[in-house]
């Protein structure tokens, strides 16, 4: 994990990003989490079903995209921070093999008692310049103890 960030050090306009590759083994691993609701043949692991549903290939589940963005934000928050909430919309399909840039753009900082809320826009950008995932998130960071 990266070193701890603090609310006091973040300003509107700050950005952070991370590169992600949607490799098929990673997607299959996600689908195989014990007790998964996404187990069994579907548009996420079967090219024929994906084609039948009008997709150019197997796609990455929306919830996995959200969970990957959550993980990126969790890294940003560090052990003393946390994600308050996140809300995203899925604008385009993400295909197996897609290379994505996960981005967060700080839009507001709201101080609190011993901690503060970092409000941000979040999105994925693919190699075609499209943004298949877009949304907003609140991350709670600790304040520096002076």
């Amino acid at each position: 994990m990266a070193e701890q960030r603090y609310f006091d050090d973040i300003d509107p306009g700050d950005e952070f990003d991370e590169q992600l590759v949607m490799e098929t083994p990673k997607v299959l691993k996600y689908l195989g989490i014990p007790g998964s609701r996404l187990a069994g043949p579907n548009r996420f692991n079967d090219p024929e079903i994906a084609k039948r549903d009008g997709m150019p290939g197997m796609i990455v589940p929306g919830v996995m995209q959200l969970d990957l963005m959550s993980r990126v934000l969790n890294d940003f928050a560090g052990q003393e921070g946390r994600i308050g909430h996140m809300e995203v919309s899925f604008r385009r399909s993400v295909l197996h093999g897609d290379k994505l840039r996960a981005l967060g753009l700080v839009t507001d900082t709201i101080p609190g008692d011993g901690e503060g809320t970092i409000r941000m826009d979040v999105f994925f950008e693919n190699e075609r310049g499209e943004r298949p995932l877009q949304g907003t998130a609140d991350v709670i960071l600790p304040s520096r103890k002076d």
Partner: protein, 153 residues
């Protein structure tokens, strides 16, 4: 059944806002490990029991997104009649309290709303379902909202 302003759309308005239990599960270390490996999560709070025990929650906790991986019943059916394939349009997740190993979590689902939008490319119908996950003490730990869209073909 009710008909909205979009031709061809009907749905069962009586289910809107009615919460039903859709299943329960016990959080296991195995599930957490598999989830963390799949999404690349490395936080000791979720991956290292000893470090987590010394952390703010005193025990290994699950990332809230773990609830996405759990098999549940679907809940009430709004019986939406509208042509086209349904797609996952959006998702909201809110972390309300720590989700600890050994917690027994029960999920409650409702159809929050059904609404239509008409744009340049035609009409779309959205169904928003809210699920609240509560632990064995009845404390809400995670809430999600899932939007599905049906687009005219």
């Amino acid at each position: 059944m009710t008909a909205d302003q979009v031709p061809g759309l009907t749905y069962d308005e009586s289910v809107i806002g009615k919460e039903v239990e859709v299943g329960s599960f016990t959080v296991t270390a195995e599930q957490i490990a598999a989830y963390c490996e799949a999404v690349g999560e490395t936080s000791p709070l979720h991956t290292d029991p000893e470090a987590a025990a010394k952390g703010p929650y005193g025990a290994l906790t699950a990332p809230p997104g773990l609830v996405h991986a759990v098999q549940l019943e679907r809940g009430l059916d709004a019986k939406i009649q509208f042509p086209g394939v349904a797609f996952h349009a959006g998702e909201r997740i809110e972390s309300l309290a720590p989700l600890r190993v050994g917690d027994t979590v029960t999920a409650y689902n409702q159809v929050k709303e059904v609404y239509a939008k008409t744009g340049r490319t035609g009409s779309m119908v959205f169904e928003v379902r809210r699920t609240e996950y509560r632990n064995q003490d009845g404390t809400p730990v995670v809430a999600t909202e899932t939007s599905f869209v049906r687009r005219e073909v």
